[in-house]
């Protein structure tokens, strides 16, 4: 993404420290997935510090969403790009390590501590009530996520063809064992041919 380079100055030690500290805090606020912190990262990296431009930030998120793997990798790519525009390959790898480490460490340690505690107290009524009570809530949340993802799309021929594709995939995944890569390949093909 060099063509859009924001002529960033090399980042100082204090800059890296600031980025790391910012992400350490965001990590513990990231309820609902990593993408939930994207607006705040935009505010910090683009608006406040000016390390990346708006298109660079948007491209990082779009690429990480399209590539395979957990969505949280967009944080790694942002750290990489901040370093890349601020000096080259070595700062880029440093940025990647700082961003990913700071994003994952606090939430992971908390998750490990809490799940171990939950496991020790798995027969307690409060723990069982929490897991049983949350089950329909998180399934409703998944349906809501799918609804929002489908509705936020912009197709060549409006929303209907894309929404139809989504519904067909949902039914196929639910009722058949068709491999996911076939469905993704079909979606990519339909899109590349300009049919959706």
């Amino acid at each position: 993404m060099g063509s859009l380079a924001a002529e960033g100055a090399p980042l100082s030690f204090a800059d890296w420290l600031g980025l790391g500290a910012h992400l350490l805090v965001l990590s513990l606020l990231a309820v609902g997935g990593a993408i939930a912190v994207a607006p705040d990262m935009h505010r910090y990296i683009v608006v406040q510090q000016g390390w990346l431009s708006d298109p660079q930030f948007a491209a990082s998120i779009a690429l990480a969403q399209a590539a395979p793997g957990p969505n949280v990798l967009f944080v790694a790519l942002l750290g990489f790009n901040v370093g890349w525009h601020g000096g080259g390959a070595l700062p880029a790898l440093l940025g990647l390590a700082i961003a990913m480490g700071a994003m994952l460490l606090p939430s992971s340690l908390l998750t490990l501590a809490i799940t171990r505690w939950l496991h020790r107290h798995r027969e307690d009524r409060a723990v069982r009530a929490f897991k049983q009570g949350m089950a329909p809530v998180v399934i409703g949340l998944l349906l809501a996520t799918a609804w929002i993802l489908v509705g936020s799309q912009r197709g060549l021929h409006g929303l209907a063809p894309l929404a139809t594709l989504s519904v067909a995939v949902a039914l196929l995944f639910w009722r058949t064992r068709l491999h996911l890569l076939w469905m993704l390949g079909a979606g990519a093909l339909l899109g590349a041919l300009g049919l959706v």
Partner: protein
């Protein structure tokens, strides 16, 4: 969920086994990994039952941090302690990260090609459908839920309405539905083992 009399549940053999299983899952997960996790861990390998998956997912999603990473941490830690947790998360992140950097550096101009944009659009629609399909599959896991079918349907519908239709932020929507649901579950569990 204790399975006292049931045959032993399949499980990963080693942290290394877990690492490769998670790598395979992550590399299939375009636009989100959850559908692949459910298909691989529940349907194919049976390392988790549907009920266990929903319970673990409830915890993973409620805690801060990337949901799928949290789920991998829980799975790895349960089988091999912190070594398993590290192996599972490393598997989930390592190869996709390398691939992502290669894409970022190698295909700068690709995003402007209309066919590539179209392909991404189609894949995003598929990814959205996969999330919905995963939810549909998990509904079955509510069959034995202590809330009962009516309260389950109500909790699901209110969550959906609050988040998808009213667009309430998660921090507002979760307590609104989760608190009554958990309290109702606690009341129903009273005196039951």
């Amino acid at each position: 969920m204790n399975a006292a009399a049931a045959p032993p549940q399949p499980a990963p053999g080693s942290p290394r086994h877990l690492f490769w299983a998670c790598s395979a899952i992550a590399l299939q997960g375009f636009g989100g990994v959850l559908a692949v996790v459910q298909r691989e861990l529940v349907d194919r390998r049976s390392w988790l039952t549907r009920e266990q998956f929903v319970e673990d997912w409830a915890v993973a999603q409620t805690l801060p941090g990337p949901n799928v990473v949290n789920l991998a941490l829980m799975l790895g830690d349960r089988h091999f302690g912190w070594r398993g947790a590290v192996a599972a998360v490393a598997g989930l992140l390592l190869f996709p990260l390398v691939l992502l950097l290669a894409l970022a550096l190698g295909f700068e101009g690709l995003a402007e090609v209309p066919a590539a944009q179209g392909a991404l659009r189609g894949m995003a629609a598929v990814a959205a459908g996969l999330v919905a399909g995963t939810a549909l599959k998990l509904v079955v896991a509510l069959r034995g839920n202590v809330l009962g079918p009516v309260a389950c349907a109500l909790a699901m519908a209110v969550t959906f309405g609050a988040v998808a239709l009213l667009r309430l932020p998660l921090a507002a929507a979760l307590p609104l539905v989760a608190l009554p649901a958990c309290l109702w579950a606690a009341w129903r569990l009273k005196g039951r083992r």
